[in-house]
Every structure is written in C-alpha cells, then in structure tokens.
Amino acid sequence: MSVDKERVRQQYMEAAADSATDSGLPLKSVYTQDDLGEMDVSRDLGLPGEFPYTRGHHPKMYRGKLWNIRQITGLSTPKEYNRRLRMEIAEGAGALTYHVDELADYGLEPDQPSAEGMIGVTGVTSNRLGDVEAALEGLPLDTVSLCPACTSPLLSQSILLTAKRRGYDISQIRLVHGAFVMWLPMCYRSLTEVTFANGRISSLGKWGLDYCEYILQHLPKVNIWYFDGASAHEGGGSAIQEMAFILACRNDLLRQMAERGLDPATVARSLSPTVALGQDFFENIAKVRALRRLWARTLAEDFGCTDRHALALRVHANVVGSLCTRQQPLVNLSRVSIAALSGVLAGVGGLQLACYDEAFATPTEEAVKLAIRTQQVLRYESGAARVADPLGGSFFMEQLTNQLEEEAQALLADMEERGGWLKLLENGWVHDVMRKRSWEVQQEIETGQRVVVGVNRFAEPPEQDTPPPIFSPGGNEVDRYFQQYLSFRDGRDIAPVKEALEALGDAAQKGARLVEPAGLALEAGATFAEVVGTLRMADGLDYDWAGERKAPW
C-alpha cells in the first residue's frame, strides 16, 4: 500500500470542523463564567434530589442505586424467547423489555396472508394469554422489571393476568407499562387507530387510557412509560423537539387523567419517559439535565405540583439503533459505548443499548451479551458511576443545559398554543416536523457535513466489509408454535369467548371502562387479534387491519 504524503500532512493538521450541536445550536470553542449570564447556582442547579433536579433525581444517585441494565428483546416463539430472557438475566440484565412481533401490534392472526414471514421476526410472537405465560415461565415477576412493548394494553394486561394466575399479589408486580396510546401515531402512520378513529380517541385508545387510570389506582409499583424519546429521535426529531414532545405529551396525559379525577401529582409520580442517546455526547447529557429541570419547573408552575416524587423525573435512556451502521459493524461497539457513557454521566435511571448488529437483523446472543457487558464495564470499571452529576458546574455543560431548556420551553409553549400534543399528533403536525428534520439530517450525511465513520468517511469496499453472524429464528420452532396455536384456537370452547368479546364490544359502544372486559376476554381464551378486531369494529373500522379476515361471529 502506497503512502500519500499530502494526505498524511492533512490528517496531521486537521482541526475539529463542527461548530454546532446535533440539534444545530451554535458552539464556541471555549466557555467561561460569562456564558452563564444570570444563572443562579442554588436556584437553577441545587443538589441532586433537590428542586429543580437538574443534577439528578435522587440525593445519592448511583451510590444509592445503580441504573437498571435493561435489554430490549423480542424474537421467535414464546418458548425460545423464554430461553433468551433467562440468558439475559443470567448475564446481568435486571430489566427486560418484552417486544412483540408485528402480529400483536397490528392485531393479525398468524394464519392470514399478511402474517407470512412476520411470525417472531421483529419480536416474540404473542397471540394469546397462554403465549405470554409461556414466555414468562419461571421468571420472578415481582423482581425483574418487565417493560411490555406493544401498541395496545394487550401484552401488559396479559402479564398481570399471568402474575395473578401464578398467585402473585398484583400490587407487588414491577412493570414499566408502555402506554403507546400517547405517542404511537408519531411513528406509525399506518396504525393511528391505536389512538384515534374518526378524529377522536378510538376505542383502542380509550382502552389505553383506561389502563393508565387502572395502573394509577391499583398498581403502586407499576410505572408508565408514556413517551418514547428514542422513537422521536429515530423519526428525525432533534434534542429540542424530543424534549418539547416529552413535556407536551405529559401535559396531555395529565389532562386526560384529570378528567378522570386523578390529580397531577398522583399521575406524574408514576411517569417515566425514554430519552434518546444519539451521536452528540455533550448534547445527550445536557438534554437529560435540562429535561429534568424543565419537567420540575413546568409541573410546579403550570400544574401547582409540590410532590417531591412527581417533580423528580426519572428517565430511562436508549442508545438508539440508528447510531449503528451496517458498514464495519464492529465500530458500533465503540459508538454505543460512547453514547452509553453520556447516559451515565447524565444520571439516567435505566439504560438500554443498541446491539452492534442492529442494522442487519434481530441481535444474536453474542451481540446482546456484549451490550450487557458494556454496561457492566461502565458500572464497575470506568468509575463513571461514583460521583453524581460529574459535569455539573462546567461552564460549557451549564450553558448548553440552559440553552436547551430555553429552546425546548419555547417549542413547548408553541405546541400548547397550537392545541397541545394529542391534537398535533392527530393532525400530523408532529410527524411533519420530524420528517422535515430527518431530511435535513440525511442531507448532512449525504454531503459529508455530518460524518458517519465507515459510511461517508473511512469507508471500505463492500467485499472487504464482512458481515457479522446473523440471527434468524428457528424455522422448526416457529412451525411447531404455529401448529400448536392453530389447534388451540380452533379447538377452543367458543361460547365463552364469543360472550366475552360481545361484552367487550358493548362496553366500548357505551364508552364504559375497558380494562375489566378486555381482561375477561383474554382469560376466556380470546386471541389478541380478536380483542383488537372487536375494538376496531366498535369504531366502525374493518375488523382486520389488512382487510383479510371478517369477524368470525
């Protein structure tokens, strides 16, 4: 290989080119006290665990409790999935996100044309209560923190029913319920009926809100993951947009629950959004700090909230999958580690890392293990967990925190003026804002202004770039599941199923609470697709999302 002297010279002399953060805030080359303006340390920072919680949600931070090592997992059949969950727990993940495949999300039956090739691919296939029981067999449901990721409460409620059947005291169950009702249309334009139908909240959406109310009234150890900042980021949202969306969405959930007689403090105590950890190390940290402060200030000022637990925001952070490239995939391990460190320095309560093979397929066991090991290096080797808010007081960090707070607050005010989160979600404004920014980011990558190592700089010819081992679900396992599922479904005593689904449909028509009738239908042996179809019909929609099945009765 020949040496290009001119290139060596250029590399030696190269200077940092970036002059703005990821979200476009201009950056100086150094910051001083003068950049902090009127900032008052005791008013604007305080101590960790004290208002306005800029420096952390708890006085001791990680000396009190380390962050949760969470792993998002969903693959294959309930049986194979159970094996993977056990492996992840054994390797050190204390919190698991249970991700279903597209069938449960869209309410499809495994034997309809649209389900072909989709079973157990993007998540574990879970099509009835019995599947959830099989997936969670032998797992301690009052200890491991499960997070059901499914577009409706189907999965979350099935986990509760599983716990009940196993004899647990339901009030002791630890769960982070994914309330997709509050944000799904932001990223799923083909499934807006999870939240809306005919210009108002749909029956599926009402079930989602009823379930939040049920949690707040009955389940003290269940938190509500009511907004996914990682999805906002993946859709193209900037740090500023993500922050404003997190708060605008919270405000509308507080209002929805207030209509049901729940006061803001009761609701906010149980809320925990996800934030994205993307490319920009310092902006990631400043975003979390600014979000905690703005969360506390707006709750206090706009909702009169004084409850310490409600004001202290606990965030979960995802190192986003879009950070991972298909080119030179091992480099992703470095990228993910850097982003993960930013989460720890920001004091997040839980952390979930993208695996290095994200751009190819569902992660392999090895890739998952590496993601968990990375968190363990951060916890036990790096020293990053020893001191709370280690960057607090840095002129740059405080200035960036102030600036992000200010920008997000202005956007939040604009969104509230335009009618609030749910309205802007329904009319597509949120989606348009994200799409516009995602195009800008893509242009920056295309022109090389935004460097992606291995993609637009330091690229290798594809034939030299070896792909990693790829996961694919065991075909035999899926076939066996498929046959078992069909023999269950077609061999059920159909009378009680029909009765329970009719009761659910009636409740939806009447506008009654849906948690109880939905739970009874699941216990009677209704499939997930039947529950979704029944609620779709209550809104005058086709029984089946894909238009391939008619209501069986």
């Binding site: 597209e102 069938l103 999300d105 869209y106 499809l108 044309p113 649209s114 072909e116 090739g117 989709m118 691919v121 993007t122 990223c187 799923y188 334009r189 083909s190 499934l191 993946e234 859709g235 193209g236 490239t325 298909r326 080119q327 751009a359 190819f360 397929a361 799409r435 995602s438 195009w439 893509q442 295309e446 992606v452 291995g454 993609v455 792909p467 790829i470 694919s472 999302w545 894909a546 238009g547």
Partner: protein, 135 residues
C-alpha cells in the same frame, strides 16, 4: 424514451412495517432529481400499490422493508404485478435486508437492493438507469 419525459416512480411500504424515514428520504431525492414520484405511505396493501402503478403508468416501484417479511411480501408483490400485465415495471427494494436474502430477492426479479448507508444520489442514478433501460 426522450430525455424530456419524466420518469414515473411509485414509492410505498407494504405490510405492517412503519419505519418510514428511509423511504421518505428516497422519495424526496427522486423528486429533486426531476422524477415524478407518487409516495403512497406505509401500511399499503399489495393490490392498491399495483393498481396505482397501472393507473400512473409507473416505470419503477420502490419498496422499503425494515421489519422482515420482505421475502414473502416481495414474492406476492411481483406475482400481483405479473397478473396485471405489469411485468415490465422494475422493482427496487431498500432497508434492513439480511445479506443472505439479497440474492433471493434478485432471483425473484428485484432490480436492485439498497442497504442502510447507501448514498441517496446513487439510488437516484440507479433508478434513472433502470427506467431508461441500457444505454
């Protein structure tokens, strides 16, 4: 075909996958490159995309998959195109396609497969080339 005629393209997502970021960027790129692009959005049914292709007299259809299911969906899609006598329409696929599936898609009749990290300008040149045929 004369240089002045605009290339007609349909872009869509069929099946249950809703990761729209890539396909919207490709749509915008092809429009900026002077092509006439109808973007149908996500969650489209196969027959409605094929019907639109017939109506619009499309030369190229771009489909995007990030959630698996691309093998059966593309097979059914190409079958539906043939059935409607639209076998001449070229189909391009983009998304998270595992390496072992790329030759399978090409064998089925897909003209090109673009993966994460592909340059938008290269996608536009490729679409122009297959629409115009070998020069």
């Amino acid at each position: 075909m004369s240089e002045d005629t605009r290339i007609k393209v349909i872009t869509a997502k069929i099946g249950t996958d809703d990761h729209y970021r890539g396909i919207t960027a490709v749509t915008q790129t092809l429009r900026d490159a002077g092509m006439e692009v109808v973007f149908l959005g996500s969650g489209q049914r196969i027959d409605s995309v094929v019907a639109t292709a017939a109506q619009e007299d499309a030369e190229v259809i771009g489909l995007s998959f990030l959630c698996g299911g691309h093998l059966p969906l593309v097979r059914r899609f190409l079958g539906a195109l043939q059935e409607q006598g639209l076998g001449r329409v070229r189909v391009v696929v983009g998304g998270t396609i595992p390496p072992q599936d790329i030759p399978k898609l090409k064998e089925m009749g897909v003209s090109g497969v673009f993966l994460p990290g592909a340059k938008l300008s290269e996608i536009a040149s490729f679409v122009r080339e297959i629409a115009r045929g070998p020069s």
